[in-house]
Subunit: 297 residues, 2 copies
């Protein structure tokens, strides 16, 4: 890590010569060379979802004048219509109004939910012994013994390995599943003052009352669910970007999380490694697949 730090300091010293550069040197000298890892599942009509919500359906957007789908051939463009039976779908950011209407909905979170230090706490060894293992305060103490105190304002993601079978729909009913104990949530929020925690499964714990989610929501906290690819992210040293459209009065959030990790990290892609602008032309065109209920290649 020493080499990175020297590089960062040099870069910022250079960038600071330009009075109007502001935060740009952070990108040019550091973020540009980082490794980007997507922590987000792709949303399709076939991903795991609680039976009490049911799946989404996709369709091509219809021209209201004709009732027929727009087409690349006739209209020059295409668009997508979505019937989403729930906002608890895919990789999510739950606002507390999901359970407690006196607290903010998804459009009422402050814009400071944007980028944070990412802490990853692994419970995969314990889950290998017992599929229903829940993160304990002792796991957090062990993590702090290795890495130091969990930073205030961080996003703390729990790596359990649950998502390795995604998008097998059977995941939605598999029990037991790895969770996060209420005491661990209380420790993270009341003792460490994190921004929010996240986990791979679609629920926080396996208690009948969902006591962890209940405590979070009724006390004004947010949480991430359905997080992907945590096996590709180190326990310390990455940032995470947090994005979600602002549906007015929404009580769930279709979210995007991207980990930004140090250049030496073994996973992830760097700016310039894959085509971005322009993007690469693909061998097969995107087209509607009626069986899949979505566009595929």
């Amino acid at each position: 890590m020493r080499r990175v730090c020297a590089f960062v300091l040099l870069g910022l010293a250079m960038g600071c010569r330009q009075q109007t550069a502001g935060l740009w040197p952070l990108y040019e000298q550091t973020l540009k060379h980082a490794k980007y890892i997507d922590l987000t599942h792709t949303i399709t009509p076939a991903i795991p979802v609680w039976h009490g919500f049911g799946p989404a359906s996709f369709g091509p957007t219809l021209n209201p004048a004709t009732g027929k789908p727009y087409s690349y051939e006739q209209d020059g463009f295409n668009a997508t219509a979505y019937r989403l039976s729930t906002d608890q779908y895919g990789t999510q950011l739950d606002p507390p109004a999901h359970w407690a209407p006196e607290f903010p909905g998804i459009d009422e979170l402050p814009p400071t939910f944007a980028v944070r230090p990412l802490v990853v706490v692994s419970i995969t060894d314990s889950v290998a012994q017992h599929a229903g293992y829940h993160l304990q305060v002792a796991d957090l103490a062990a993590w702090e013994g290795r890495h130091g105190r969990i930073p205030e304002g961080a996003v703390v993601m729990v790596r359990s390995g649950w998502s390795k079978d995604w998008p097998n729909p059977e995941l939605a009913t598999r029990t037991p599943f790895p969770g996060v104990a209420l005491d661990a949530l209380k420790f993270l929020h009341l003792q460490r003052h994190i921004l929010f925690h996240g986990h791979e499964p679609l629920d926080t714990d396996t208690t009948a009352a969902l006591e962890g989610e209940s405590w979070l929501m009724h006390n004004g906290y947010t949480q991430a669910e359905g997080v992907a690819n945590l096996d590709q992210v180190p326990e310390t040293g990455c940032l995470v970007t947090i994005g979600y459209p602002k549906f007015g009065g929404g009580v769930g959030g279709y979210a995007r999380y991207v980990a930004i990790c140090p250049p030496e990290w073994s996973h992830g892609v760097t700016v310039g490694e894959l085509p971005e602008a322009p993007l690469a032309r693909l061998a097969r065109p995107l087209h509607w697949d009626s069986a899949a209920g979505m566009r595929v290649r």
Copy 2:
């Protein structure tokens, strides 16, 4: 800006002492003290949209077993169902597959679409003279005369003032509207190699063939539309986070953009300025409003 730079250098020097800190000092010493400005409109059933797509409708999620909405009182939680007639709605990130199926859809963009230098080019003076003014190469040359070369890989947002009347639905049919000339798009991509440009209106230009969007999409470029609050962001020195859920085979993106600006900037909120965890309890509960077709307070 000198004071910030000294602060950044000191902070990183301190952070670099810890071997496992990685990119965390960027947050702790700089991003934490930045000003965050949301560039995203709230999505509701009443926002401006092209008549060829039509509006969205929202509803409470129904319990499939009873056909009745979930309720906080009976079920302890609530969720939202969305019927979205188009993915060209609100603040967007258009992938090139919107017009050109041989190029990536929204779920196929690399994860390096996460955080970038934000360039803001204002055409508000010209728009005040002529409502249909389009950004020209000369405007970009003037910007570079003031600030230096537009950084490679940047996001370039065009401030026109169009969105000040948002969410007046009349905006969707108002002509002429401020645009971006094709030559300016070509300059930005072919000469400056930006990641993407963005604009406040829902279309790129007022030509009959939408020549700017056509060129972008058919050449593998992305673009942001329906961008908000660009009047609160300086021309240089901010970063922008880019977020959107990954709808499989999607040809539009419900997006979130947040500008991250230097601490001295006069607009925006800092981490810790507004309650985050826990969020603040609000005076009125979120509840369904049938007339609005959405939850309100």
